[in-house]
């Protein structure tokens, strides 16, 4: 084969990206080996620090034993002349290796080498290994054109090898990058999870704190009626005992025929009635029962309020007009309002929103009743509906010309069980529940108040929420 054909075959082989690099190199070594009919062709690659070198590829002619396995991690320390020859002469060239320095002979002679030619593999001007050709059968006299050819081939292989290494580095780097991205993503996901957990924990703690406050409030609100219910039940038992004793005497009196006995019983009845304050308990038993019934209703109302307060799901959401809700609510409370205040309606067309009409009605009724309480005897309540832009929302306002709300009350007004109303008049749940309902509708309640002039509660419900 002509040298030029060999060269082109090698070059084509090396640039054939379809094939694995190792196979390409093996094939190139095979081509050279056959063309020059040498004993061995091989490539050594240095480690990253350039301290040792290893046989990476080897081609052996028929009958020549391979050396690849033996020649791994050879320290340059053992063959100091090798590198200096490669660096200074640009090759190690010996037609008779017995003329080489002893350090090289010590490693070359056991391999049965008689002649050898080695070119450095330079990548970016640094020696990264070498390509060599051994002749084991004879002292070989290399022809000048063979030397030229091999030098060229070494250059081509060095370039290809360098490109392959860069490609591998690039692939390694991209894998590293992918791994790092994956690691970072995982880290980020983990910290996001931790953050979410911390956030959930905080929300839970805040919830628990408010449940704690709620529980304290519930305890108080329920303990009060429970207190008088228990007391009244005990009293009722005493009343019943008194009634029974008196009735027993009446029965005795009825069954007795003897006038003297009847008179004694009659006196006994009069005495007992006086002792037991019969006339008083006869009247009082009605108010005792009335109080007790009210007490049970109060407890029941608190529990019901709490259920509404605790409910979170958006059940029963339908398309609803806030103006209709306002109109309906006003009808419900009209009888309570009409005697002690005037109510002015200023309604505009409001686009429908998604909400629970019953719950929204509860909010409006609550605001109207609060306003009625605020105006006391004679006052004026204005109920308004309308639209607000940026962001688009429907609004409902309930304004009164009552006493206004002091700052300290304003701060706590939406707290459960916070009330300024006397005794059994307020549960302190009305505005807390209203606040909860409006929040479930993604809205808010705004409050404006001036002492001595009145207050304005504004429900703002976003459109499209």
């Amino acid at each position: 084969m002509k040298d030029l054909r060999v060269l082109s075959e090698i070059a084509l082989n090396l640039i054939n990206q379809q094939q694995n690099f190792n196979i390409r190199i093996d094939s190139v070594l095979d081509t050279i080996g056959r063309h020059l009919n040498v004993s061995r062709v091989y490539i050594f690659v240095d480690d990253d620090e350039g301290l040792t070198t290893s046989n990476a590829f080897e081609w052996c002619n028929n009958g020549i034993p391979p050396q690849k396995e033996e020649l791994q991690g050879i320290p340059y320390e053992l063959i100091p002349s090798w590198k200096s020859l490669l660096e200074q002469d640009g090759r190690v060239f010996s037609e008779d290796i017995t003329l080489l320095p002893p350090d090289l002979r010590a490693i070359l002679e056991p391999q049965g080498i008689k002649s050898l030619l080695v070119y450095p593999l330079k990548m970016e001007r640094v020696i990264k290994g070498f390509i060599g050709f051994d002749e084991n059968c004879m002292i070989r006299h290399w022809r000048e054109k063979d030397l030229e050819l091999l030098k060229t081939i070494s250059g081509i292989i060095a370039n290809a090898y360098s490109a392959e290494l860069k490609d591998r580095q690039l692939k390694d780097y991209s894998r590293l990058l992918e791994r790092r991205v994956a690691e970072r993503t995982k880290e980020l996901e983990e910290s996001l999870t931790k953050l979410e957990q911390a956030q959930n924990q905080m929300i839970h703690q805040v919830k628990m704190a408010s449940i704690g406050r709620l529980a304290a409030g519930v305890a108080h609100e329920i303990n009060n009626p429970t207190g008088f219910l228990l007391s009244n039940t005990q009293t009722l038992s005493e009343y019943v005992t008194a009634f029974t004793r008196i009735l027993d005497l009446y029965a005795q009196w009825e069954n007795s025929s003897e006038e003297k006995t009847r008179e004694t019983i009659r006196r006994e009845i009069i005495r007992l009635k006086s002792d037991e304050e019969f006339e008083f308990i006869k009247e009082d038993i009605r108010s005792l029962l009335r109080d007790s019934e009210t007490g049970v209703r109060r407890i029941s109302k608190i529990v019901k309020g709490l259920q509404t307060f605790a409910r979170e799901e958006n059940e029963g959401f339908v398309s609803v007009s806030l103006t209709d809700v306002a109109e309906d609510s006003l009808q419900v409370v009209w009888n309570k309002l009409k005697y002690h205040c005037t109510v002015e309606k200023i309604f505009s067309e409001t686009p429908p929103i998604l909400g629970n009409p019953g719950q929204l009605e509860q909010v409006v009724i609550n605001l109207l009743l609060n306003a009625a309480d605020a105006v006391a005897d004679r006052g004026r309540i204005v109920i308004r509906t309308g639209l607000r832009q940026n962001p688009p929302a429907v609004i409902l306002e309930v304004e009164d010309d009552g006493a206004g709300i002091p700052q300290d009350v304003r701060e706590r007004i939406f707290e459960p069980f916070f009330t300024t109303k006397e005794g059994d008049k307020g549960t302190g749940l009305g505005l807390a529940i209203s606040h909860g309902i409006v929040e479930r509708h993604h809205g808010k309640i705004e409050l404006e108040s001036t002492l001595g002039k009145g207050s304005l509660f504004r429900v703002v419900l976003p459109l499209g929420a």
């Binding site: 304290a216 305890a219 108080h220 609100e221 329920i222 303990n223 009060n224 009626p225 429970t226 207190g227 008088f228 219910l229 228990l230 007391s231 009244n232 005990q234 009293t235 304050e277 008083f280 009082d284 108010s287 005792l288 109080d291 009210t294 007490g295 009330t419 300024t420 109303k421 006397e422 005794g423 059994d424």
Partner: protein, 131 residues
Amino acid sequence: MNVSEPYTLLLVDDDAAVLASLKRQLRKEPFVVESAPNAAEAIALLESSQPMIVMSDHKMPERDGVSLLTEIKNRWPSVVRIMISGFTDMDILVGAINEAEIFRFIPKPWEKDHLIGILMEAAAKYGENIS
């Protein structure tokens, strides 16, 4: 000094049903009972004549029981002060004990025997206070 029956008692609670139930329970006990629905009316009554015992709720609109009983302690120290409340909040108890220096705390709901027992002790305490 032993004070003689009937003992005078002022009840303060904004819940009319509570006042009524207490009065019923004390109907046949040796107490003359007056009541007030808030701190202001209680003070007004005290200014005209002082009972031996004041038993007050804590949570009332405008002015709470700790504040009322503290004023009573300062103005009429011999009047024995009792708090009766459904609130068992630590802060309130601390205020009742440290500021109002109450004689006893009765949690709501209460038991009649317990209540009467405490009121009898309070009457005896009043005797000590004035001797």
